[in-house]
Structures are given as C-alpha cells and as structure tokens.
C-alpha cells in the first residue's frame, strides 16, 4: 500500500501575528512555523496504517524553503519520503490551484489513500481536500476520526454534530480529511530524527508537474483582497468605578435583561 499525506506549514500557534504592511497576508519574517495541527493527525493516521502493515508514506507540501523543516519533521516521525513543491507561483495559487498541483502529484504517485487535515489553522478554507478528491477522481470522507483499511476498501468513523458518529465505507483509492484529536500524535524518536537526513526529498515546480499553466496568481479565481484585524466594536460598555460599584452596575444590567 502507498499513502500520501498532504501537509501545510502554518505560523506557530504561539507566534505573534502582525498584518503585513501591504495588507496582503501576515508578516512572515521572524515568526516560527509548524505543521498545521490537523495535518499532524493526518500524518499520524497514515503512520498507523504503516505500523499495521506494509505501507509507504509519502508526505507532500507546497511552500517556500522553510517548508523543508516541516517535511523533515514528518520524515523524522516515520514518513518514508517527501515531495516539496517549491515554486513561488504555486504559493500564489488559490485553493483550486494548489489542489491541481496535489492532484498532479497523486497522478504520479498513485496512492491507495490520501490523508489530508480537515482544514488549515491559518487559512481556514477547508477547500483543498474535497477539491483534490474530485480532481483525482477519488471518493472522499471529511471529519474522519479513525480509519481501518481492508484489501479493497477503507472503513472510517466520522464526527457529526452533537456528538453523533457515522461509519462510512469507501473503496480504495480514496481521500480522507482527518479531524484533530482523531488519535494521539507520536513524537519523533531520536533514531527517527537521525534517519530523516537520509530520506529523499524531491523538489519540484508546478511546471515539472505539468500544471504550470493552470496555477499561480494569474489563474487564481479566489483572490485575497486584504487581511485586517476588525476594529474594536463599540457595542461593548465598560463599567467603571470601584469593584463594589462595578458589581452593583453589573447586577443591574443583568436584571434589566431579565435573565435573572
């Protein structure tokens, strides 16, 4: 079996985010990055498939130089090899453009299963997994919290609203978009970290993958106009005075609203 894991590197959850001067994105200089949290669960699910039987795990990421580190982390955790699409045009693509690049890799790799994170911590689009499944002609399931492979199919549990679970069976090849908390993500072992250096990282451009024309800022149908921090709402009322005065006012407000 071969599995492909799509992972994105996103700003570290502890990073202080400032909007870039031109408002196009956040200021990326001097902040730390990490693997998108959803993707770490996807990677873990893929590595479990590998632990359970024979599987080659190929991790794929689109992004600038810094992405090498995310791929190295994944290799240290146990992935077998990596494909790094390093191409400014690829970076400038919208979700569909990126899905086309990933689909081109899927066409070359012919994986039995593609694991994605349900969404990216930074962009929050949740768009690429279903787009990629469609372009690759694969059935897909989102919100997956566990998966179990048989010879021809995969049975997954999905998380629904209100704590409900759904069991779905998909024929292989297929794509699974993994929910956070699906499993306990492993730590890289020291041995894994040392071995990662010897594992191959294939660096490619969109043109290498034959989709150079279809991607990039020019081909993007969705364009980000600006990123901004919403102004503070004036609907908040600040209560002032000593603690006792504030409490008295607060109780008055709650009474006014009739919730007490």
């Amino acid at each position: 079996m071969k599995v492909m894991v799509c992972l994105k590197q996103v700003p570290h959850q502890d990073a202080r985010l400032d909007v870039a001067a031109d408002g196009s994105w956040i200021q990326e200089d001097n902040i730390k990055f990490e693997i998108n949290s959803y993707d770490t669960y996807a990677l873990e699910e893929a590595l479990r498939a590998k632990d359970a039987g024979e599987a080659e795990v190929v991790v794929v990421s689109i992004g600038p130089d810094r992405v090498t580190q995310a791929l190295r982390t994944a290799l240290g955790m146990g992935a077998d090899r990596a494909v790094h699409v390093k191409d400014p045009e690829a970076d400038a693509s919208d979700s569909l453009g990126k899905a086309k690049i990933l689909a081109a890799i899927a066409k070359q790799e012919e994986p039995d299963v593609i694991y994605c994170g349900l969404m990216a911590d930074d962009g929050n689009f949740s768009a690429i997994p279903p787009m990629l499944a469609e372009l690759a002609g694969m059935p897909s399931a989102t919100g997956v919290i566990s998966s179990e492979a048989s010879d021809t199919s995969i049975t997954v549990r999905r998380e629904l609203e209100g704590g409900c679970r759904e069991v779905v069976e998909l024929p292989r090849p297929c794509l699974l978009a993994i929910q956070t908390g699906a499993n306990q993500v492993r730590y890289a072992s020291l041995k894994g970290i040392m071995q990662a250096k010897k594992k191959p990282v294939d660096v490619k451009t969109a043109a290498d993958l034959g989709v150079g024309e279809q991607v990039g800022a020019g081909a993007a149908k969705v364009k980000i106009n600006k990123i901004y921090i919403p102004p503070k709402s004036d609907q908040a009322e600040l209560l002032e005075g000593s603690t006792d005065e504030i409490v008295t006012q607060l109780v008055g407000k709650i009474r006014e609203l009739g919730v007490l």
Partner: protein, 382 residues
C-alpha cells in the same frame, strides 16, 4: 521571534523541536502538581527511553544514539524548561549513574543494567554526598571492605536524588581511607540488597518534583564484580567526565530562565497599571531587556563549551564559565520574573515562584560558584 541559532545542524533543530513538543505536552502540564506533591512522574522514564532520549549521549554499540555534548545541552534546556525537578531526575539517572556505568563498568555489569536503564525500565541514582562530605569529596566516610568474594559497605549518604525510585545506585565509597581522594571507588548497589536501605525521604525548597532520600549501608554485602572501574581511582576517573555535568547544569539554568523570561514577556504585555501595560514602563522594559541579554549570553557560553567538547578541544574553563554564569544569571532572571509578576507570581499556583525556588540549587550543586571561580582563576594562571 526566530532563534539566531546559526550553529545548530538541521538534526539539532529537529531534536529541539521534538523535545519542545514533548516537554510542552508531557512535562510542563504536570510540573506544578509534581512540585506540590513532591512526586516524581516515574512513568516518563519508559516513554523517554522508547523515544531514545535517555540514550542520547551513549555510544550506539550499547544502545545509545551517539549524540554530541551540544545535543545534550539542547535536551537539558528543554527538559528544565518544563520542570527543573523532572529534568534533575533524568539527569542523575543518565549523566551520573548510567554514564559512570557505561564508561567504567565491566562488560557484565553493563550487559545486566544498561539496556534496561537506557529504555527507562530501571532507574539509577548517584550516591556521593554525605553529612560530612559535600564540596569536599575527600571527607567521604562510607567504607567498602573486601571480604572473600564480596565487598562489605558501611556508612550513610545524604541528599540522594532518585533514591526512593531507584533500582540501582552508583555509590562512592572509600576503599583506602588514608589515601583520601585517591582511595575512593565506585560500586553498583541494587536497591534490594540486604543491609541497604533508603531512609526517610527529604523535603526541599526547590526541584521538588525530584525525589530525594538518605541511604544507609549496614554491613551491606555486594559481589566483587559490582566494583565499577578501578579500585581506589574510580571516583577520580569519573570526575574527569564531569565537564558534561557542568554543561548540563548551565543548560538546566538556561531552561528555567527561558521559561521565566517567556512568562514575564506575556505578563508585561497583559498586565495594565496606570492605564498602560507594565511592559511600556521604562523601568520594566529595561529590566526585561537585561533578562533576555543574560539568558542569551548564558546560552552562548554553554553552547560554546559543548561545541568545544564535541571538537575535542580543551573546554574545562569554558564549562566552568558556562556553569557559573548561567546558574547565577538564572537566579537573577527568575528573581526579576517574580518581581515583575508581583502578587500573581507569588501565589502557590503560579509557576513563577517555582522557577524562583528551583534555580538556586544549580549554583551550589555540581561544584559551587566559589569552586568554579577558583578553577577559572587557576586556569588564568593566578
């Protein structure tokens, strides 16, 4: 802010990242509770062992990873960032007990103890200090006398970290009292030997997640093969490997200081007094700038000593300076952290007061500041 860590290899960066993740998820969340309960989370040992972190600095032939001193400094900083007490328990096991065994133990002793020790399935302790012997090793009074196929140990040890949880202890005892320092040998004592017992646990100000006790040897018989290294020279031989201990002490101090600085930065941005975050007040800003500068200076000294050790260069003075500067800087940094936190930091549930309590031990353990200054002065030709 991104680290200016140009001298780290990709693997070292990755090691640092993996350890940060492990510490954030497995160590930091239990640090305050272990501190309050004076309890060591022994369940961490097999987990660290399985990931290979206990074997970091050991040769590959004996199940280690052949890591460098710099790798080790990185690891010590990260563990101590989460909990100095938990880091200390790992340190005593790895850097003192297992190191002595790996460097000087017989093949048989190594085969019997090292594989399980590096997997974290057995825990080691290092028993050197006594009521009358702290900085002055030559005052060690615990005696080991050869008798037939045995050694017979008598005496007691004080302040022994990991004693309550240890499966084996590396014990420093005198085999030739008249030769003082040149009559000290190392022995492996299994925790269940008749005549050996762990007396009352000791409660302490800081590094409370580590467990400590007193040891008593009362005609404790161990086989002759349990001698580690050369008779009468074992301890001096072991001392020579202690440069790594100084690098580790420095790295522990750096880890605690980093935790204190990071918390202070958050607090200084969030705490508003006189209508502005206290981090906008010049007095506080300058103080925090000094904390950050001292932390980075300490780390550079520590990593310099580690790199020198890894390149086979002389590094005694470098290790002394790193240990001295880092541990004293850490005390200053955690003191400022507590000061800028005010009452919030002083409360029992705050980690800030723990940082303040935890760091002091590093100044007198592994050779007190005075001994470090003395050695540096001697190296300078005075």
């Amino acid at each position: 802010m991104a680290d200016v860590d140009f001298y780290l290899s990709d693997e070292q960066r990755e090691l640092q990242r993996a350890l940060r993740e492990f510490t954030a998820k497995e160590i930091a969340p239990i640090a305050s509770q272990c501190d309050a309960e004076e309890r060591y989370p022994v369940e961490l040992f097999p987990r660290l062992g399985a990931l290979g972190y206990l074997g970091l600095t050991f040769p590959e032939e004996i199940g280690g990873s052949g890591g460098s001193s710099l790798d080790y400094a990185i690891a010590c900083e990260e563990f101590a960032y989460g909990s100095a007490g938990i880091a200390l328990g790992i340190y005593v096991h790895v850097a003192l007990a297992c190191s002595a065994l790996a460097a000087f133990g017989s093949e048989d002793l190594k085969r019997r103890w090292l594989p399980s020790a590096l997997c974290g399935e057995s825990i080691g302790a290092w028993a050197f200090a006594e009521a009358g012997a702290g900085s002055d090793a030559s005052a060690i009074a615990t005696r080991a006398v050869a008798d037939g196929n045995d050694w017979v140990l008598n005496g007691s040890k004080l302040y022994i970290t990991n004693a309550p949880i240890a499966d084996f202890l590396v014990v420093v005892a005198s085999t030739a009292p008249e030769q003082r320092l040149k009559g000290l040998s190392l022995f492996l004592v299994e925790h269940d030997r008749p005549g050996f017992r762990v007396a009352g646990s000791l409660s302490k100000l800081g590094v409370r997640a580590s467990e400590m006790a007193e040891l008593v040897f009362d005609d404790c018989r161990i086989p002759r093969e349990n001698l580690i290294g050369r008779e009468n020279r074992g301890f001096l031989d072991a001392l020579r490997t202690l440069a790594l201990g100084r690098i580790a002490s420095a790295a522990f101090a750096i880890g605690v200081a980093r935790a204190a600085l990071e918390a202070t930065l958050v607090h200084a941005r969030e705490r508003v007094q006189f209508g502005q975050p206290i981090g906008s007040l010049q007095a506080v800003r300058f103080g925090i700038a000094d904390m950050a500068m001292q932390l980075e200076a300490a780390r550079l000294l520590c990593h310099r000593a580690a790199v020198a050790a890894d390149r086979g260069l002389p590094h005694g003075r470098e290790a002394n300076m790193a240990k001295l500067y880092a541990t004293e800087a850490c005390t200053r940094i955690t003191e400022r952290a507590l000061h800028y936190h005010g009452a919030t930091g002083f409360m029992s549930e705050s980690p800030i007061q723990r940082f303040y309590r935890d760091c002091k031990v590093f100044e007198f353990g592994e050779g007190s500041s005075e001994l470090q200054r003395e050695m540096i002065a001697r190296e300078l030709g005075l």
